[in-house]
Symmetry: C2
Subunit: 297 residues, 2 copies
């Protein structure tokens, strides 16, 4: 199967993922408007980085990435729910997401909240629906446990609360990393470890992949902060400089723009070093790492 280009890998698994997402929502017996609101945000584009990480990790173990389809869909649902809720008027109050009106702008606030709730809830159903040949009940329960930890109060939701509490205040680098490790890092880590569990990774392999995930997550966030300063509205789908306008602490604000760019390079190198030390077929994972470091949106 190797070598395969990142482009053809991405194209293939994005298409499978998006079909699975549509099927999962389409097969629900639910009020039409709720299903529409769920699909609106699921289909709003996005890089599908988290699902691609699931597929690429399984691929690195020489297994068929298709075994990660439901787990990948579950993660994209959790990620999408978190965006819908983050954009709400009482949170970041964003009107645009990926260049399109945010969910509550189209469906109203109540339906947006409920669409988020429904996507979060459905994500656990996706794991339950994994075929037996993709995961045993034992692996599925481990995925449920890890997903709820990564997404919940000790993970993503906790990071969002810390982020809100940190607004309009100058944070230390330590506090800023706490926020990012929780708000975005834990779900990225989960994507990687979910792939590893499905592929039957050893404890040592999982340990190395957690280290990879740590550096990848911070690189991802630093790139985000840099893009907010250097991108164009067309590239990032929202106004440029909104972090500064919202008085958000960022890496460039704490380290200077050059310092942030150096930190990005350091984390990318550490991530790729971790990957290389696994002894797996990491070509796709390495390309995704570079993509995250260099992405324009």
């Amino acid at each position: 199967m190797h070598p395969v280009s990142l482009e053809s890998f991405t194209k293939k698994y994005k298409a499978l993922l998006e079909e699975r997402l549509r099927d999962a929502v389409g097969s629900l017996e639910t009020p039409e408007n709720l299903a529409k609101a769920m699909l609106y945000s699921l289909e709003a584009g996005g890089k599908r980085i988290r699902p691609l990480l699931v597929f690429a990790v399984i691929d690195a173990f020489g297994k068929d990435p298709i075994h990660g389809l439901e787990a990948a869909a579950a993660i994209e649902m959790v990620h999408t729910y978190s965006l819908i809720h983050d954009d709400l008027p009482s949170m970041d109050d964003d009107d645009l997401r990926r260049g399109k009106p945010t969910n509550h702008k189209v469906f109203g606030e109540a339906t947006a909240i409920l669409a988020g709730d429904a996507l979060l809830t459905l994500s656990f159903n996706m794991i339950a629906e994994m075929p037996e040949e993709s995961a045993s009940d034992k692996v599925k329960m481990s995925l449920v446990s890890r997903l709820s930890t990564a997404a919940g109060a000790a993970g993503m939701v906790g990071g969002q609360v810390a982020d809100m509490e940190g607004e309009h205040r100058e944070l230390t680098l330590e506090q800023l990393e706490y926020i990012h490790i929780h708000k975005t890092g834990k779900l990225l880590e989960y994507s990687i470890i979910a792939g590893a569990e499905i592929a039957g990774a050893t404890a040592v392999q999982k340990e190395i992949l957690v280290r990879f995930a740590y550096h990848l997550g911070l690189a991802f966030q630093i790139r985000d902060d840099i893009l907010d300063l250097e991108g164009t509205e067309e590239m990032i789908g929202k106004p440029v400089g909104s972090d500064t306008a919202n008085e958000k602490s960022t890496y460039p604000a704490l380290l200077g723009l050059d310092g942030a760019k150096q930190a990005l390079q350091d984390h990318l190198s550490s991530a790729k070093n971790a990957l290389a030390s696994t002894g797996l077929q990491v070509d796709i994972l390495t390309k995704i790492t570079d993509l995250i470091g260099l992405r324009n949106h």
Copy 2:
């Protein structure tokens, strides 16, 4: 162990449940304010009907109800999250719940939304944490699947959307039942079936218990509607007649007050008949059924 009074059964398992809820939130590494918001609503009192149903069903099979502790805690978390989100300004906009200020009144809207999100997420962790002697991985996965179905777009969340869409409109009895079966019935049914699965019920027993749950759920809702008319603010913890004020369709509005009372009695009888036909030790379950039919709050 039998006969035991409903009072002593309730007292014992409520205390164990509330301790488990406090422990589950207390052991999270999370921003203090988020943990406080989660606990505020978890500890706001409430009848704990759903957890008690889990315990009582296991008891009916002659098994130790303690095996249902985590499943019961999970259900109470889901129920509590749904109340927090329902009370939000963009939904029912309620200032009081059980006579206390609602979550967003105390913690603000953003934290209330996130506390709800965190409780929903944590509920799946609770199932993952069930000890092996209480549930195999196979039973746990079935509980995850059933909980996400009961709570999600095809269950509770779907019912909430249908409820919102039905406001300020006259509904048929069929539409009203659709709302209640989804908004409250599915989670009550889940409580009962979760207990049955933990106790090792047969398919036939589960079928009868689903019928019991159907009638119990509708009895629960009709009693709620009657209380909104006949209760006092002190009894129900919110203003009397708020359904009429909010132009909500209710059983008394559709059937007349006497007709609603008759329907309540019919559903209670059918529920108890179903119970009797299980051949199980249903004394506690029967008492809970009566309690639901006669409750004052």
